[in-house]
Subunit: 98 residues, 2 copies
Amino acid sequence: MNYSTQYIAQQLKKSRENLGLSQRELSARAGVPQSHISKIESGNVDLRLSSLVAIARALELELALIPRKYVSAVNSIVGSAGSETSGQPPRPAYNLDG
Amino acid sequence: MNYSTQYIAQQLKKSRENLGLSQRELSARAGVPQSHISKIESGNVDLRLSSLVAIARALELELALIPRKYVSAVNSIVGSAGSETSGQPPRPAYNLDG
DNA sequence: CATTTTGATGCGTTATACCATATCAATTAA
DNA sequence: TTAATTGATATGGTATAACGCATCAAAATG
């Protein structure tokens, strides 16, 4: 819906894809129905904190409240790279078939 | 209710107090009724993402999803000190009248 | 003291997240 | 081609967040 909730939704989707999980696999891990995950990722659901935490945890993510003055510092650590652990080998961002 | 949602609630409360805001002042800033803020801070409400973001923003906080392997690094930056900017001068944690 | 501010609580209503379940088109695998 | 798998979507029911509004006791303030 609004700006930053959309952003959160996209982060969840990216993280799931980086882990090579299907929505149904994530559903099983997080205990949230696949249909709901779909809605959440598409960004038109104002999900509850419990759902957010459950899904985040299943994606090896932790929810945090960062004082605004530290956000850039935190970003430089996290590198806006969404947890590229395990799962399918992460494809490179470039493409040799130019 | 559960563990980490309780923690979020406490963070919000601490941040508000550190800024020297009353629940009603925060209510005006965040556009969330005082009665609801009270419930949220007491930890027995599973609030929605939009509410969380609205309140966090009014407290100079930003919501973030941190990959688990980076949480300790992030914590060492933020220092688990909840944004002690502006507002009433922060009282010292000690007390000279022993 | 009297007054104001503060956080907590209650109630009735509305909006909507959440669930189970099912279906479907498009993709991917056999 | 046939058979999974995947993401999106629909329906109907339940749970509950969120609202406005009011009230209250305790604490702070004058």
